[in-house]
């Protein structure tokens, strides 16, 4: 049956259901297919911290939002064009945030009286006027899935679990997308249990055919491939890209890679990814706690490995003292903080940028450290690589800030080859040198040499006590301490001499400069871009280097009438800028709800400032 086709620039789909409904998998598989079709994509998984939160309640709703299209995909999108709601709770949780004329696909089998009440509706939203502004596709998804799988002899529970694939099949039909890749996925994944693989594939096909049969929509939608630079791409999450960036850096530095880590949401996937790659020599040590994670990394760095530790906010707090030790001993380690909502346990599965102050200043004593941040899921690769480069070439610990939003989010990555990447030159000393002293420094960088145990004649001792600036022996001399404090500060400051200049986007639009950092890049870029297209005097600069800031930062700020710092906290980067570059006035736009920005709310704020006299 032919259907008429509408070509769209981009579409936002949200898959929502109980946390056991398999929405993350459905969303991921849809993403993989659209990525391979050449669409630009941005995803946003949003799920509760409980593994199986109370069924049928709004608190237990797990969501996966994907924005895909041929152009204009800078973020996972403010609100869905298509909502898949596997139960009333999933509908309720998203009802406040739908685009006009949104298509809502529901499983009517899960809209019993009790389900409706559990979700907090008084009446059935499918029969009262709640959804009158939307296009609703009702399908008896649970019962049709079971009927489709009746001949496979599965138990009730296993058959029920395939309803996410039935639903995904329907969504594929809506967007005229092929099933092949998803079918291959199940064939691979369930090689040892082919019945389950077959059941998922059958459910997928049945869903596709069902949507075709009922002509779920009159016109189906087609998204053309995005215009991207030529090359080979793959879909990648931020955490995976982070892990790969470290592996590439280790290769380019010619040293073994060591990760000491302790499981913590949302950072654990970096450890999961690296531990798969023992073939590449990755040494992954799951420590007994966060402190042992970083301390083992410090030990590995002392012994000459490229050492990293990965964590999130609460784990970062526990690592604090050990970071001070790495600063004092001037050993190269990278500490990754995949930020989540805080304080304390906070919102483990939600995104936030509220650990910036902790990263820059959160230690005892005068303890400067390099802090950098990633800005998109795919560029986590580049920033993990850069963090390692700085650590090794400047003999300093480096904190790399990413966010839950980046770590779990995915986008196409233009695949790099090792030959595309620069060599990293660690400051090692590999043979006896009579002039060497443990704290003798490189003149340009003030970095000391990296001398791992094993070299005859270079035995030396390091530690957390203050060291004599000349000999490296323990020293409690007051003047010497002052000298060492200054050296450690200056060493970090001089990293600015070895990083690129800050850039900004916008004509000589003097009116408003939007300042961002970290993982909100895509959304900020999208919002600024929209207003620039309208001809507004707005520019945008996004920071990846936090400490030290790029040397031309003040030069850029001086060009603008107003500076607006947008971040997912109460103003930490703004305050950091106030302390670092106090000659400027900083406006703030903040959001601390465990959610990323929306393009619409940013545009409102920008317009407000642009209209102000």
């Amino acid at each position: 049956m032919d259907k008429s086709k509408t070509i769209l620039d981009s579409v936002v789909i949200k898959f929502a259901g109980d946390s056991g409904d398999g929405m993350q998998l459905a969303g991921t598989l849809f993403t993989d297919t659209t990525a391979v079709l050449g669409n630009a994509i941005a995803t946003f998984p949003d799920f509760p911290s409980e593994i199986r939160a109370p069924q049928g309640t709004v608190a237990g709703v797990s969501g996966f939002q994907i924005h895909f299209g041929s152009s204009g995909v800078h973020s996972p999108g403010d609100a869905p064009d298509v909502l898949v709601a596997m139960n009333p709770a999933a509908l309720k949780a998203n009802l406040h945030n739908l685009k006009p004329a949104c298509i809502i696909l529901v499983d009517i089998d899960s809209f019993g009286k009790k389900d409706i009440e559990k979700a907090g509706f008084t009446d059935n939203p499918l029969t009262d006027n709640t959804l009158s502004d939307y296009k609703v596709i009702e399908g008896p998804i649970t019962s049709l899935t079971k009927a489709a799988l009746a001949d496979l002899g599965l138990d009730n529970k296993s058959a029920d679990r395939c309803k996410n694939m039935f639903t995904l099949g329907m969504v594929f039909w809506l967007f005229s997308e092929p099933l092949e890749q998803t079918i291959q996925f199940f064939e691979q994944k369930f090689k040892k249990n082919p019945v389950i693989g077959q059941a998922n594939i059958l459910a997928l096909k049945s869903g596709y055919n069902y949507a075709l049969t009922i002509e779920a929509v009159k016109t189906s939608f087609t998204i053309l491939p995005a215009k991207k630079a030529s090359g080979t791409y793959r879909n990648i999450t931020g955490n995976q890209a982070t892990a790969w960036g470290f592996m590439a850096a280790a290769k380019k530095a010619g040293k073994p890679l060591f990760l000491g880590s302790y499981p913590i949401t949302p950072a654990t996937d970096i450890m999961h990814e690296l531990t798969k790659h023992k073939w590449a020599g990755a040494k992954v040590f799951q420590a007994e706690d966060e402190i042992a994670g970083i301390c083992s990394a410090i030990g590995a760095a002392f012994a000459g490995n490229i050492a990293i530790t990965t964590t999130s906010g609460p784990g970062m707090a526990l690592k604090t003292e050990a970071i001070g030790l790495a600063i004092m001993t001037e050993l190269p380690i990278v500490i990754v903080n995949v930020q989540r909502g805080g304080p304390s346990t906070g919102l483990p599965t939600k995104t936030e940028q509220s650990d910036l102050m902790q990263a820059v200043w959160g230690r005892n004593g005068e303890s400067p450290i390099v802090v950098i941040s990633a800005s998109t899921p795919a560029d986590c690769f580049d920033w993990a690589f850069e963090a390692t480069r700085i650590a090794l070439e400047h003999m300093t610990p480096v904190i790399l800030l990413t966010e839950s939003y980046l770590g779990n989010g995915a986008e196409p990555w233009k695949i790099k080859t090792l030959s595309d990447l620069p060599q990293i030159k660690p400051l090692t000393l590999d043979a006896f040198d009579a002039d060497w002293k443990p704290y003798k420094r490189d003149e340009a960088k003030l970095a000391r040499k990296w001398v791992a145990p094993g070299i005859e004649g270079l035995q030396h001792r390091i530690g957390g006590l203050e060291k004599d600036a000349q000999t490296g022996n323990v020293s409690h001399n007051p003047q010497n301490h002052g000298v060492m404090v200054d050296i450690r500060k200056e060493k970090v400051a001089r990293v600015a001499n070895f990083i690129p200049d800050q850039k900004y986007k916008g004509k000589d639009a003097k009116k408003l400069l939007v300042v961002g950092w970290g993982g909100q890049f895509g959304i900020l870029f999208g919002a600024v871009n929209d207003l620039q297209k309208e001809g507004k005097y707005i520019a945008f600069t996004h920071f990846n280097y936090i400490n030290p800031l790029p040397k031309n930062t003040a030069e850029i700020f001086a060009k603008f009438d107003k500076i607006l710092v947008c971040e997912l906290n109460s103003g930490q980067f703004a305050n950091y800028l106030r302390a670092t570059l106090p000659q400027f006035k900083y406006e703030q736009f903040n959001k601390v709800q465990g959610l990323p920005f929306k393009i619409s709310e940013l545009k409102n704020k920008f317009n407000e400032l642009l209209e102000e006299k």
């Binding site: 990525a35 079709l37 890749q181 991207k228 630079a229 030529s230 090359g231 080979t232 791409y233 793959r234 879909n235 790969w244 592996m247 290769k251 073994p256 060591f258 790659h277 023992k278 073939w279 590449a280 020599g281 040494k283 040590f285 420590a287 007994e288 706690d289 402190i291 042992a292 301390c295 083992s296 990394a297 410090i298 030990g299 590995a300 760095a301 002392f302 012994a303 000459g304 490995n305 003292e321 050990a322 001070g324 030790l325 001993t329 196409p412 695949i415 790099k416 080859t417 145990p453 094993g454 005859e456 004649g457 035995q459 030396h460 001792r461 390091i462 530690g463 957390g464 022996n473 323990v474």
Partner: protein, 342 residues
Amino acid sequence: MEAAATQCLFKPKDYASDQEVKWCPGCGDYAIINAVQKAFSELNLKKEKVAIISGIGCSSRFPYYMDTYGFHTIHGRPAAVATGVKLANPELSVWMISGDGDSLAIGGNHFIHAVRRNININLILFNNEIYGLTKGQYSPTSERGKITKSSPFGTVESPFSVGELVLGAQGQFYARVPDTDVKLMTQVIIEAEKHQGLSLVEVLQNCVIFNDKTHAEITNKENKANNQLILEHGKPMLFGENNNKGIRLNGLELEVVTIGENGITESDILVHDATTKSNVLHNMLIQMKLPEFPIAMGVIRNTEASVFDKEFTAQITNQQETSKLKSLDDLFLSGNTFTIKD
């Protein structure tokens, strides 16, 4: 190792660094560093192949006084740092120096996990039953009722028994020595290095300033023959001034007997087996307390088990030999990719 007895690379004092030793005069730590240097010399350890990792406390200044690679880390964490060192370079001989506060209070978690994993490092625990560097507070090994600056009315908590803790954490090597017996200490340290896996040497160490003579009843010249049982693998458990007292198993209890009394002969005396897998008897020996029993000294347990760093490294080697992926470029291009052409 074969030539060790005759041709030493270094004399004991060659392992000393040029730094002035700053322990208090009369501190038990001097005896320990002497024993370590003697043991290193007998083991023929190359200085550059040794990494000594310590935490915080009086004991932990140790690395500064040795001309090896050394790392004075932070309080309680040397086991974690040493684990990283050993995994990063398993060729190194890794030594951890720690105290009862460092390893059993603030660092208790790392301590038990290092023991459980059986990573091949040697851990010398200086047990003086007091916090010395902070000037005299009770520690996790201080006896119940101990009066210190932080317990003016006596402690109301029970101490750890180091050996029992080690065995409870699946420890495979445990030795106990007094700081007064450099010869025994040297032998035990040599055994510790030879043992594959975590080797724990508890030294009953005297803090001359804040807890002087805490082990005196065990170590005093006049008492030591009767109050110490020096265990040797394969030898009967005999002790006493006339070496005629011994340990016998009576039902499920140990008892002290005297050869020649009540028909007891040497054949009634237990023979020490440090290598038996079962830790039941090892535990009973560790639990022996004055005045009923002598204190067991020497290598109490020395058993073979899987060694963490070896298996950790073997998994990597195995994957390197068998993986289909041979380069990162292979990995990046594996799975679903798509190509955009100009």
